[in-house]
Amino acid sequence: MRRGAWLAMILVPLAVLYASLFIGRFNIPPADVARILASRWVSVTAGWPASVEIVVMEIRLPRAILAMFVGAGLSMSGAAFQGMFRNPLVSADILGVTAASAFGAALALLLSRGVVEVELLAFLFGMVGVALTYLLACTYRRTPMLMLVLSGIIVAAFFSALLSGAKYVADPDSKLPAITYWLLGSLNGSSMQSLGMAVPPIIVGGAGLMLVRWRLNVLSMGDEEAASLGVRTDRLKGIIIVCTTLITAAAVSVCGIVGWVGLVIPHLARMWVGPDHRNLLPAAGSIGATYLLIIDDMARSVSPSEIPLGILTAILGAPYFAYLLRKTQGAWQ
């Protein structure tokens, strides 16, 4: 891949990050943002009100960074799963992680718990859900793809039913709206704390995927063929599942269900750099980070009240995916 592409992968998300700090309903001049950022390292005479610094450093910056990590993580997981399942229509929630996380969050909201407990429970349930899927799919110490997919459907259906149950018993005046709003996905209210909670698992999972990205190429040729080329396929699948689950559970736990990112972005990345996961994973991460950051900027600035992320990603993602599908006639080049 050309060096320009690598440079673009790093610089474009950073540029959008900078823009995200001055874009918003509370208007801040770009120059002030630059000065505030610089004041962390060099002494700059403060020519701005303290409230501006709070908005930039404590509200917009953590939120923007979180959006980038979530976007990058979901896209990389989606790309890894599409390769592993040899199916470009798969995304990170195929093993039931989203449904299980959603139930975990709903349970915490039902019990009137705070933000930290909601995030924690969502994360734990996500991990438990995928573990269930994996155990269910294990036959004779192997994990055939078909078994994984079917087990994922079963586990997702089970947790969806539990979620419906939680909604049914929730107080319709206070808790039901909270659950519903959480499910729509939002980065509103993300703090340094949520950053500390979601970013480490996303980094660990992302790094794990990056380490196996060549073997992921070989695995995408099929289990049997990969095994004949010396890949221990069941172990590799286990590693990929653990990594994507860490990422997705962490992402869902801090911002609810954000659909479409993990499905559409890998396609975009594949169109840009081709199917080789050595380039595809970084490209998907970079595009995903930029995309979700832009979406989140729209979510918090186009209307007086926040628009849930899940609505925007689907409203933009679905037509775009339809366009891609028509244009390529389903040939996923």
Binding site: R86, V212, W214, V218, S220, E224, R232, G274, D276, W332
Partner: protein, 262 residues
């Protein structure tokens, strides 16, 4: 005597109650080609998978280049045995060069990626077989014949002692069948042992080596093609009447043997 690469001793394999082969013994030397013949569903592919270590024998042992196959881990096995399966599904448009480079995977560390040297090896093997023009083409866009040749190149960069091919000429047109068969002959000349399954008994006569006939009554015949491929043995294998004919040719060419329904 050339190096003995495959030693099968008293091997048997069955699916539940269905016996595929029993008490099979077989030796293959470097440069030898074994053509496995048999009716649909008789277990040719199963035999090949056992030789690749993808399926475990119920009894007996297989040694590849002196080492017990069952004791090798996946990459050590892949450095000794390469196999091309009959069914191959191409999902993502990897370049032909990337696909050939995948043959280097057993030589990489668990988290490693191919080096420039690995890519050069892949490129050289494409060049050797006159396929270099395909190198940057999306593998999904190649014709069936080109794809098969690219996959054969991949087995080559795997640098195995033994190459197993499951119906390598299936789905190929006549020209590509011939190209593919010639390539297989060239591979045998490099000191590997080759096992291929085929639906065409004539293939057995094309290579220096023996034929293995999996007959309908579960008995297995192994021997020189000219000795074991007869009207009677083909009838016992496929349940049909065919003739086996010798066609003399002027020296230095050797005579040909062909099977024909008439």
């Amino acid at each position: 005597m050339s190096k003995r690469l495959v030693e099968v001793r008293n091997a048997s394999f069955k699916y539940a109650e269905r016996v595929i082969f029993e008490a099979l013994g077989l030796d293959l030397s470097a440069g030898e080609v074994l053509t496995v013949l048999g009716a649909n569903g008789c277990g040719k592919s199963t035999l090949l998978r056992c030789l690749a270590g993808a399926l475990k024998l119920c009894e007996g042992s297989i040694r590849i280049a002196g080492e017990e196959l069952a004791r090798l881990d996946a990459s050590a096995r892949a450095r000794k045995v390469a196999i091309l399966f009959q069914e191959h599904q191409a999902t993502f448009p990897f370049s032909a060069l990337d696909v050939v480079t995948m043959g280097r995977t057993p030589y990489l560390s668990a988290l490693g990626a191919p080096s420039r040297h690995d890519r050069q090896l892949a490129e050289r093997s494409l060049e050797e077989f006159g396929l270099l023009h395909l190198k940057d083409r999306a593998y999904t866009g190649l014709s069936g014949g080109e794809r098969q040749l690219v996959l054969l190149c991949r087995t080559l960069v795997q640098q195995p002692e033994v190459i197993l091919l499951d119906e390598p000429t299936a789905h190929l047109d006549f020209k590509n069948q011939v190209r593919c068969l010639k390539l297989i002959g060239a591979l045998a000349g490099r000191g590997v042992a080759l096992v291929l399954t085929s639906h065409d008994p004539n293939h057995a006569f094309l290579f220096p080596g023996r034929a293995l006939l999996m007959q309908a009554n579960r008995s297995i015949l192994i021997g020189a093609p000219s000795e074991i491929i007869t009207s009677a043995s083909l009838a016992a294998t496929y349940g049909i009447e065919v003739g086996v004919f010798s066609i003399p040719r002027a020296p230095p060419l050797q005579g040909l043997t062909v099977c024909s329904p008439w």
